[in-house]
Symmetry: D2
Subunit: 385 residues, 4 copies
C-alpha cells in the first residue's frame, strides 16, 4: 500500500487540510480498478469505517486490480460543526452542495472521436481516460477556483482513472439504497442493498454522474457511428449506507462483505467462494419523491422505513403547535391538533425520514419510492470465472 497526501486547503489560521489517499497496486493486469471514497458530505461517516475495513482487508489480502481508497474525501466538511452536529451537505459559507461541483467532461467527446476514429472500442477507453485527466489538470491550472470546485477537481482526477467508482454516502434516518444508471441494474444487485434509484442520463454535478455521463455519451456516439451495441464498462454508484452522523460497526462489517462480494463479481479481487446477488426494488429518480411538510410542527411518528404503503396510508403525524391555539376545549386534544400526512401514491416505500422531528413548513419530511418495480435475482449463486 502506498499512501499519498493531497494538500487540499489552507485555512485562515494557516493550518493545512490534507486528503489521505490509500493506493493498492493490483497484482494482476487487465483487471478492473476501483476508486472508493467516503465523506464528501461531512456528516456521512458510516462509509469511513467501511473504508478502514477495506484497507485492513486489502493489507491482508492484496487485490488483483488497483484499488484507491479515500476515507475522508472532504476534511473541511467533516470539521464543520454547527452546534453539536456536523454541517453535512453544503459549504457553510456559500451553500454549495459538496457533491454538485464536478466537471461535465462530455464536451470532449466530439473531438475525441474525430481524432480517434480508427481505434477499436477497447483501445478508446484508456485514451479517453487520459483525455479527461488532461482536461481536469488544465482546468485546475487555469485559475483559482472556489474551494468547492477545487475539491471536486481533485477528487474527479483521482476517480477518473478507475473502472469502478463507489461514492459512499449516508442520508438522514434511512435505509441503505443506491443511485445508479439503468445500465448498471444487473451489477448493482451484487452490492447487497435492495433499494435502487435509477438515475437519468443527465449531468447535475454529482460524482457518479460525472463518471457515467461522459462514458455513456461516448459509447452512444461510438455505437451510432459504428453501428455497434456496446455498453459502458465503467461502473459508478452513489451508495447510501444508512443514517448520517452514525457509525454502526456491525452494519459496516456487513457492508464490507457486500462490497467485497461485488468486487469478486467484477474480478477486482479473487473469489474462492461463490458470489451472491440480491433481489432489488427499483424506481426512477423522478419517482423517488421527497415529501415536504405542508405545515410546521413536530413529527410525532413516521411510517416505518422499508414498509410498503398504499394510497392514503399515513406517512407521518405532525403536531401543529399552532393549532394548540384553537383546540383547548377539544376532548381529543392530541388527535385534533395532529396532521396526518397521507401517502398520495398508489404504492410507496419510505426510505428516509428527517434528521430532526422539528420541522418548519416546506422542509423535507421523508423520501419515498413510488412506481417501483421488484426485479428478481438475475443469477443464483453463480461462480465468477
Amino acid at each position: 500500500m502506498i499512501k499519498k497526501n493531497i494538500k487540499t486547503r489552507v485555512c485562515a489560521d494557516g493550518s493545512e487540510l490534507t486528503i489521505n489517499v490509500f493506493c493498492f497496486k493490483g497484482t494482476k493486469k487487465m483487471v478492473p480498478s476501483v476508486y472508493i471514497q467516503s465523506g464528501i458530505h461531512g456528516s456521512e461517516v458510516q462509509g469511513y469505517l467501511v473504508c478502514l475495513l477495506l484497507i485492513d482487508h486489502f493489507i491482508k489480502y492484496p487485490p488483483l486490480g488497483n484499488v484507491t481508497i479515500v476515507p475522508i474525501a472532504n476534511p473541511y466538511g467533516i470539521n464543520c460543526k454547527m452546534g453539536e452536529y456536523t454541517l453535512g451537505r453544503f459549504d457553510s459559507v456559500t451553500g454549495d452542495n459538496w457533491n454538485r461541483n464536478y466537471m461535465d467532461l462530455s464536451f470532449l467527446i466530439d473531438d475525441f472521436l474525430l481524432e480517434l476514429s480508427n481505434h477499436s472500442f477497447s483501445e478508446l477507453i484508456p485514451l479517453f481516460k487520459e483525455k479527461m485527466r488532461k482536461e481536469i489538470k488544465k482546468k485546475s491550472a487555469e485559475k483559482h477556483n472556489s474551494y468547492a470546485t477545487k475539491l471536486a477537481l481533485e477528487i474527479q482526477q483521482l476517480a477518473i482513472s478507475a473502472d469502478i467508482i463507489l461514492d459512499l454516502h449516508c442520508d438522514t434516518y434511512s435505509l441503505p439504497h443506491i443511485y445508479c444508471s439503468n445500465y448498471l441494474l444487473n451489477s448493482v444487485s451484487y452490492l447487497g442493498i435492495p433499494y435502487i434509484i435509477e438515475t437519468p442520463y443527465k449531468f447535475a454535478g454529482a460524482l457518479e454522474e460525472a463518471i457515467f455521463y461522459p462514458w455513456k455519451k461516448l459509447v452512444d456516439f461510438y455505437n451510432m457511428q459504428n453501428n455497434e451495441q456496446y455498453t459502458p464498462i465503467i461502473e459508478a454508484f452513489t451508495i447510501e449506507l444508512g443514517n448520517q452522523e452514525k457509525i454502526d460497526k456491525y452494519l459496516a462489517e456487513k457492508q464490507l462483505n457486500n462490497i467485497l462480494n461485488y468486487l469478486k463479481y467484477k474480478g477486482t479481487i479473487s473469489a474462492l467462494d461463490k458470489v451472491y446477488d440480491n433481489q432489488i426494488t427499483v424506481c426512477k429518480l423522478e419517482d423517488f419523491q421527497t415529501i415536504y411538510t405542508s405545515t410546521g410542527g413536530l413529527v410525532l411518528e413516521y411510517a416505518a422505513l422499508g414498509q410498503p404503503l398504499t394510497k392514503q396510508d399515513t406517512l407521518a403525524h405532525i403536531r401543529m403547535s399552532k393549532t394548540l391555539k384553537n383546540i383547548e376545549f377539544s376532548k381529543n386534544f392530541i388527535q385534533d391538533g395532529t396532521l396526518l400526512v397521507k401517502n398520495s401514491y398508489e404504492n410507496a416505500i419510505p426510505l428516509t425520514y428527517s434528521a430532526s422531528p422539528i420541522v418548519h413548513e416546506g422542509m423535507a419530511l421523508m423520501k419515498i419510492m413510488t412506481n417501483y418495480e421488484v426485479r428478481e435475482k438475475a443469477s443464483k449463486n453463480n461462480f465468477v470465472a
Copy 2:
C-alpha cells in the same frame, strides 16, 4: 382547562412568538400544585409529547391540584435550525445557555424573615411565593433585558407559584436521568427513572436551582432561627427523558405514567391504584464526569449506556485520522490507529454519549456516573392515603 398565551418575542420580520400555557384548576384545596415544562432547550423534544399526553390526560381526568403545562417553553429555540438539526442549548447570537439565566432570589430571605418573624412555617410559604413573584415582576419592568433573561423571567414567574416543578429535558444520546437536590432523593424514586444526579445547594442559573435554592436557604435560616427541623416542601426536578432530536411515542407513554405515578404519590391527582417507587442509582453532580476527547477523530464505538464499568474498561474507540499518516505499513491498520479511551474511575456507569461521532479534541464524548451509590426502594407498593 384555560389556555394563556404569553407573547414572548417580536422577531426581526415583525412576527411574534408566543408561549402557550395550559392551566388546569385543581378540584380540591390544599393539594400540591404542579408546573411542568418542556423544550427550554430547543432540540429536546421528547418532553413535548409527554406534555401533550399529560394535557390529554388531565382533560379527561381533572387533577386535584392546579396543574400548569408549557409544552414549548422556548419557541425561539425550537425554531432555530442550523443545518438539518436544531441549535439546542444556547442562543445562536450570544452563546447564552437558555437554562442558565434564571434569577437568584435567595437574597430576599433576610428581609423576608425579618419582616415575618412571628409567622409559622406553613404561613411563610405562600408569603414567600408572593414576595418572589413581586421581585420577578419588578425586575421585568425595570428595563429591557436580553431575551435570554426575559424568557427566564417569564418562565420563572410561571413556575414560582407551584409546589412541584418538572423541567423536562433531553441529552445527546442518553439514558433518562434526573437532576435533583439531596432532600428529594425519596420523592425522586417515584418518577420511574433509575439514574439520579444529586445537585449541590448552589445556584448556577438553572430553573431547578432557581426553585430549590431560595427555598432551601429559607428553610435552613428558619430552622436555625427557630431551632426546627423542617425540610423544603417545594420539589424541583430537571428530568432528562432520553435522546434529543427524537420523539419516541412508546417511551412517552411510559413517561406519562411515571409522572402520573409521582403526582399520585404527591397527592396532586387521585390514586385509586397503588403507587410504585424504584431503586435509584445516585451520584453527586461533581461525580457525574464529562469525558472530553484527548484527540480529534471519529468515534467508532462507545461503551454501552447503563452498563457498569470498572477501571480500565474501554469507554470509546476513537479513530485518529491523523495517525493514518504514520501507519500505512501497519498490519493492524484499524487497531493501530485507534485510541481506546479508558475509564479511570473505580466504578462508572455511562449515561450519555455525543450527538455526533465526529469529534474535535476537547469535545464532550460521554458523561459517566462515578462514586455512585445504589439505594434500595424506600417503600414497596405503599398506598397513598
Copy 3:
C-alpha cells in the same frame, strides 16, 4: 394603498410568517406597472429602507401606474441569525440560494403562440401574463413544495403581472451595481447606478431571469414567425444597492430619487421635472470575475472599489499565517509573509470585496469587472413627454 398579507410559512413552534405587500392602484390607464421587492436575501436590507421611502412617497404622491412593493420578501431569511449576523443568501437547512428557485416559464411559449397566432403583439402581452399566472397557480396547487420553491412561486406570482420588476439586493462590501439584459442597457442608465453587469439570455433561477427570459424568448419567436423587430417591453433588474448588513439613510434617499427618476422616464409616475440618465460602465456576466483566494489567511488590504486597475496591479494583500512558520528570521516580516494577489486582466474595476477579511483558501475575495466598456449618456436631460 391596500396592504395584503400573504401567509408564507408556519414555523416549528406554530408561529406564522407573513409577507406584507403594499399595493398602489395607478391613477391612469395604460401606464407601466411596477413590482419592487427587497430582502429575498435576508441580510440585504438597504432596499428595505428604500422600499419604505417609496411607500411614503407614493402615499403622498400617488403613482400613475400600479405599484406593488414588498419590503421584506423573505421573512424567514431575515430572521435567520448565525452568530451576530444574518445568514443571507441561502436556506440554513438545505443550502438553497433563495434567489435560484423561480420557475422557468419559457416552456409555455410554443403552445401559447400556436393558440394565439392571429393576435397582435400588444394583445399578446396581457394574455401571456395571464397564462404564466395560471401556470404558477397550477404548480403551487399541485403538491407541497420545498419552502424555497414555495416562496419563489409566491413572489413570482406577485411579480409576473408587472411591466417593471426591480429586485433590490446588496453584496458583501460593494459599490452599487445592476444586473440586466442587453436590451435594457438604455433604460438602466436612468437608474443612477454606473456599473452594469449584462446577463446572458439564459435561465439560472433568479427572479430577474424568470421575468425576462420567457419574454425575450416570446418576442424572439414572435419576431421570427412574423418577421418583426420587437423588443421585450418588460423590464427586470437585479439592483445591488451596496453593502449587506447595512442600512445607510443618506444613500437610501439618493436611491429613492434614482428609482423615481427611472419611473418618471418610464411614465409610471408623472414627471414635472427633467429626468436624467448617466454614463454606464458595462461588462458581460462572464467577464464579471470572482477572484477566489489561492491561500487561506487574513486580508490586510483590498484594492479600492471603483478604481480602475491594469494588469499586475494588486487586488489584495493576504497575510498567510502559515508562512509565519518559516519567516521568523526575516527582516521584512510582514512583507515576506504576505501574498499580493495580482490582477491578471488588462483592465479591471473591483466592485466588491469579501464580508470578512478572514478567508480560507478558495473563498471569494473580490468581484471585478473585466473587458468592460464605458457607454456615454444616450440623452442629456431630455424631457419625458
Copy 4:
C-alpha cells in the same frame, strides 16, 4: 526572535491547529516583560495586524524587556465560519465564550503567604508567578479538559509570567476602548485610547481578570498582614481596538505607536523621545450599559458613537416591521412605524452598536457609557528616565 509552536487542537479530520508564539528576549535585566495576544475571539482581527506590526518593529528594534506576542490566540475560533462571517465570541458546539474559561488562581494566596511570610514584597513576585505556573501545569496534566478550558490554560501559562498583559479584542461596530482595574487608571492613559471601562475586583473568567485578580488579592493580603501600601505591579488590559471583522491598516499603525508609547512609559522599550498620555473618560463596568431592543425590527439609524447624549436623546430608530400591519393608512408611514429608542440616563456616550441592523427583541443594540467621569491628563509630555 524565537518562534514557538504550541500544538493546540487535533481536529476531527486529523489536522492539527497550532498557536504561533513569537518571543523576543529583552536586552536588559529588571525591565517589565510583556505578553500581547490577539484573536482569542475569532472575528476580532484588528489586533492581528497590530501584532504583526509589533513583531516587525521588535525585529528592527529589539526591546529591553522580554516580549511575547501571539497574533492568533485561537486558531480554531478564527477558522469557524458561519455564513460569510466568523463566529466570534463562543464555541459553536457548546456556546462557551472563549474569554471566560481562565482559571481563578487566587485560592493559592493563603498557602503562599503562609509559606513565605519572611520574604520581602519584591521577592514574592517571581515566587508567586512560579507557583501559578506550577498550578496551571498541574491542572493541565490532571485530566482531559474541554477545549475551551485547555486553550485558556495554554494561554494563561504563556501570560502568567509577564508583568504586562495586553489582550487585544474588538467589538461589533465600536470606538476603541479599554477594560482595566481601578489601580491602572494612570497607566492606561498612555495607551492612546480615551474610553475606559473600570472593572471591579471580581473574577468572571476573562484573561485580564485572571491576571489582576490574584495579584490584587495577594497585594491586599500582604498589605494587611504587613501594614503596607503596595499596589500590584502587574498590569493587565483588555483593549478593544474597534470594529470586529475588519482590518484597518492606518488605524493599526496608530495603534502600534500607542502601544509603543505605553511600553516606553513602562520601560520595556527604550524611549529617546517623549511619551505622551491622554485624557480619559472612565465609567465603571456596572455603568457600561448594554441597551437591549424592546422589539424586533430593522435599525434605520443609530446615535453617533462617541457623541455625548443627555436624557431622552435618541439612541436608535427601530423600524418595527410588525406595525406595518396597522399603519397602512398612515400619512407618516415611516415615522409612525418607527420606535425611537431613548436614552434614559442623565449622560451617556455610545461606544458600540450592533454588528447587524437586523434585530430580534432582546438583542444587544448598543453599549453606552453612563455615570462617566472625565479625567484630565496626569502628566504632560514627561520624559521617562
